[in-house]
């Protein structure tokens, strides 16, 4: 009965998911198709004994790497997921893309695409698989993180959060982001994938000396040099690397505060 670190992380995430399901009216889980959101989906099935009792939302920018879409459709079918696919139709019709500026493209196709699907279904809370160790601004997140109606994030005035007592009371119109994986690290995620045999898109595994470490849209997501072609090899690689996980994500590097501006506007 002694718990190791993965048991402790799993138990904490399950607790958070159950809190979200109990305390909030209408919630959905964001599924980016990346490794983290696959783990999150797996944890939901653990928390609810094989069921996923809320919709799973994927925001399609139509710029995603093709393997990701193929994986999404296959797994959604196998796991009988209540999948909702959202998109910013107007922006797509207007031909928005990274050529107009990466931050602008992300804001239109991801953030606004998300806002539209949330509004269309009346969701008051979304569960997202961000982690504190990914990036400085995410390190400051709360597990239950309120957003204004416009999805704005006021990182200077966040609610207190301690002793696992989360903010679950809100003024009408408040939206909530719930972050069950906040305490996990990249290597925890891979070790858990290994332990539980959770499926992931195979572009995470190295081919011809390169692999993807973080997945996003094809134009803005670069691969990293790597020979890790199995989960075990990825874990071994991460134990020694000092290259940051999002180094392949071009939108973060536009300026000193690009990612912070993205997040303040509602980006995950």
């Amino acid at each position: 009965m002694t718990m190791n670190d993965l048991d402790a992380l799993e138990s904490q995430s399950v607790y958070i998911l159950r809190e979200a399901f109990n305390r909030l009216d209408k919630i959905a889980m964001l599924w980016s198709i990346g490794k983290d959101s696959n783990v999150m989906l797996w944890l939901a099935r653990k928390a609810f004994f094989g069921h996923v009792p809320f919709p799973v939302v994927h925001v399609d920018t139509h710029h995603k790497i093709p393997e990701m879409i193929e994986f999404r459709d296959r797994v959604a079918k196998e796991w009988s997921l209540p999948l909702i696919i959202g998109e910013n139709a107007a922006a797509l019709a207007a031909g928005v893309g990274p050529h107009q500026g990466r931050v602008e493209c992300c804001t239109a196709l991801k953030t606004d695409g998300l806002k539209q699907v949330l509004a269309a279904h009346g969701f008051t809370g979304v569960i997202a698989g961000i982690r504190r160790d990914e990036e400085g601004t995410r390190a400051k997140e709360r597990v239950f993180s309120p957003r204004t109606e416009e999805a704005g994030w006021d990182f200077k005035d966040q609610p207190p959060e301690f002793w696992d007592q989360f903010k679950t009371d809100f003024a009408p119109g408040t939206h909530l982001r719930i972050h069950p994986l906040l305490a996990w690290t990249e290597i925890d995620v891979w070790r858990y994938i290994q332990r539980e045999s959770i499926p992931v898109v195979d572009i995470y595994f190295a081919k011809n000396g390169r692999r993807y470490r973080s997945l996003g849209c094809a134009p803005c997501t670069g691969s990293v040099a790597s020979t890790a072609s199995t989960v075990a090899e990825i874990i071994e690689e991460l134990e020694t690397t000092r290259v940051s996980e999002r180094s392949g994500r071009a939108q973060d590097q536009e300026s000193e505060d690009a990612f912070e501006r993205l997040r303040a506007g509602g980006y995950m």
Binding site: M3, N4, R18, F49, D133, A139, F155, E161, S244
Partner: protein
């Protein structure tokens, strides 16, 4: 080093600008935890702004913070020493951001308090130290930073050290180390610095590696707050996280406050082909089914029948207040304790504590960022433990409108811990509290429970200890086995059941005396461990088990009442040590081996223990604080 240890959570606190972020940035650098390019990036930013290299920028990842020059929120960053992995929480020192510091510090296992060698101990140094203590943190190392600004002078270091140690001691904290540090240059961060040859203690990393990891609460009584009840399929699953203790299939759970009970039929799980669990322990999020469909809902707390939580309509708590509006007598708040929610009204503000000088003030209200002792009354009975007995069920937050506006830890209250059978009884509070009694008597109340074989010397020792304490002016009495059997327990025999009831009555009586402020010494064979543990459970912090560990051979040799001879001759059925078992304590507070020792020696040893444990120090009596 195994990668399966959970990282130790460390919080770094201190007054604004005393160098917390710098210290953390330097620790990350020294342990090789910074991503490639981060140092170069920060150097670049600093160059662009025409300022010297700033370690704090590593932590202060946000643009806004770099502009303001202060940390806004708690960030969590990881590093690893040879000993183990760490998560370091960088907490802000700016007064306005106390809630963020609490958010960080509440989850920490140990803390580093940073103090500027030049400025010395400041308001937030004390406030943060006090709050760490209030949150239950006991492992605190002090880094006296910016030693380079005082030329690494030993005299100045000793001055600052004396000041902070005196303060921490006054609130009951013994810092593990006080380290002279220059975080900017790295002195005494990872290795001992040449600039401080007079300092012989560990570096900051050495001090961190010396902290003890927190233990899971498996050994406390079972507490399973109900989080939700699911009916996704034919199963009705009760979901929750075990906050303390253990459970197994077949255990009978009692749900507070209803007092309804049922047995665990199964522990449910999902995920592959692993064998179904039959037991679970503290920290695990579980789902269970019951053998009977009793009414269970979120907020109830499941426990094992013999050791349930306290149940009361009133609570006494020490709280920290974060609300914009002051807390006032008569105000109502939502109180969240584990998964339960109660509406409570503030019935009294007993004192407002100035964390600067620890002075008590009478106050009609508690302002933002203040600490106070407050009484609440709830409409519904609250199931809880005192923070000392079980931190996870002994703490709560308060909600006003939509916001968490404070947190508190529950004090022990006389007469708490109701039997479930009497769940409809509301505890009546005394107007005279334990602190008042202790101050009047000069010592705390408590139960010193002597256990051992017949003839071990329990009565002899306790009567002499009583006499000597009485001469010193103590409020003291002895409950003796033979004596209570003439009155309180004259209807009981010596079967295991009767022995258990005998001990239960004596235990309750002893604790009543203790609550009245007396030092109670009991002299009972009390052979069964479970009986003694039940007495301990009445008020664990007041109970001190003393094993009078005389061997059977020696007892039989002494045989003061001729009972062993009688038992050997078959004249007594169920005689402890001969025909009935004696279960010695596994971890007694004190063990008194008497073989080959005089009565006086044993008496002196027990007296030393009692005085050390129960007497109020001069300072405690003076300040009337810290009971």
């Amino acid at each position: 080093m195994s990668t399966t240890a959970s990282p130790m959570k460390i919080v770094v606190v201190g007054h604004v600008d005393h160098g917390k972020s710098t210290l953390v940035g330097r620790v990350l650098h020294e342990t090789g935890a910074l991503p490639e390019g981060k140092v170069e990036y920060v150097k670049d930013v600093c160059d662009k702004r025409g300022m010297p290299f700033e370690w704090a920028f590593v932590m202060d990842a946000l643009q806004a913070e770099r502009d303001q020059g202060i940390t806004i929120d708690t960030a969590q960053i990881r590093f690893r020493t040879e000993a183990r992995p760490y998560v370091i929480i960088d907490a802000p020192g700016h007064k306005e951001f106390l809630k963020n510091m609490i958010s960080g510090a509440a989850s920490a296992e140990a803390a580093v308090l940073v103090i500027d060698a030049h400025e010395g101990v400041q308001e937030q140094s004390r406030r943060h130290g006090y709050l760490l203590h209030l949150l239950g943190l006991r492992q605190i190392a002090v880094a006296v930073n910016k030693m380079d600004l005082v030329d690494f002078g030993e005299a100045r270091f000793e001055e600052v050290k004396a000041e902070i140690v005196a303060y921490l001691n006054s609130i009951g904290v013994q810092p593990t180390h006080v380290i002279p540090v220059a975080a900017r240059g790295g002195a005494n961060i990872a290795t001992n610095a040449a600039e401080t040859p007079w300092y012989t203690g560990p570096s900051v990393l050495g001090a961190l590696d010396g902290f003890a990891p927190s233990k899971p609460a498996n050994d406390l009584a079972l507490r399973l707050p109900v989080q939700d009840v699911y009916k996704f399929d034919e199963r009705r699953i009760i979901a929750g996280r075990i906050e303390s203790g253990r459970l197994k299939v077949g255990d009978t759970l009692v749900f507070a406050p209803t007092g309804k009970s049922a047995r665990i039929a199964s522990i449910e799980s999902w995920g592959g082909d692993r064998v179904a669990a039959v037991a679970a322990g503290a920290g695990q999020s579980v789902g269970i089914t019951l053998d009977e469909q009793i009414f269970v809902e979120r907020g109830q707390i499941a426990s094992l029948a013999e050791d349930g939580p306290s149940l009361s309509h009133t609570l006494k708590a020490r709280l920290f207040w974060l609300g914009r509006e002051a807390l006032k007598v008569g105000n109502r708040y939502k109180l969240k304790l584990a998964t339960a929610e109660h509406v409570v009204e503030v019935t009294a503000i007993e004192r407002v504590i100035d964390v600067e000088d620890l002075a008590n003030h009478q106050g009609a209200e508690v302002g933002r960022n203040a600490v106070a002792e407050v009484l609440f009354r709830a409409k519904t009975p609250i199931a809880y433990d005192s923070f000392i007995a079980n931190p996870r069920l002994g703490r709560f937050v308060l909600v006003e409108n939509y916001d968490i506006v404070g947190g508190g830890v529950i004090a022990e209250v006389e007469g708490e811990r109701l039997d479930h059978k009497s769940a409809n009884i509301t505890v009546v509070h005394h107007k005279v509290d334990a602190e008042g009694r202790a101050l009047a008597n000069g010592h705390r109340g408590g139960v010193v429970w002597l256990t051992g074989l017949s003839g071990a010397g329990k009565s002899t020792i306790s009567m002499e200890v009583e006499r000597q304490l009485f001469l010193k002016g103590w409020q003291v009495t002895v409950l003796d086995g033979d004596n209570v059997r003439h009155g309180l327990c004259s209807d009981l025999g010596f079967s295991p059941e009767d022995r258990a009831e005998n001990i239960r009555r004596v235990g309750e009586t002893a604790h009543l005396f203790a609550e009245a402020g007396m030092l109670v010494i009991t002299a009972f064979i009390s052979p069964y461990r479970s009986d003694r543990d039940r007495v301990r459970g009445i008020r664990p912090d007041a109970f001190h088990e003393v094993h009078v560990a005389t061997t059977l051979e020696e007892c039989e040799r002494r045989d003061p009442k001729g009972l062993y001879r009688k038992a050997r001759g078959g004249g007594i059925v169920e005689f402890t040590g001969i025909t009935a078992p004696y279960e010695p304590p596994l971890v007694p507070e004190l063990s008194l081996p008497t073989d080959g020792r005089s009565v006086d020696e044993s008496v002196a040893e027990l007296l030393r223990y009692i005085e050390r444990t129960f007497a109020l120090s001069t300072r405690e009596q003076a300040v009337g604080w810290g009971l």
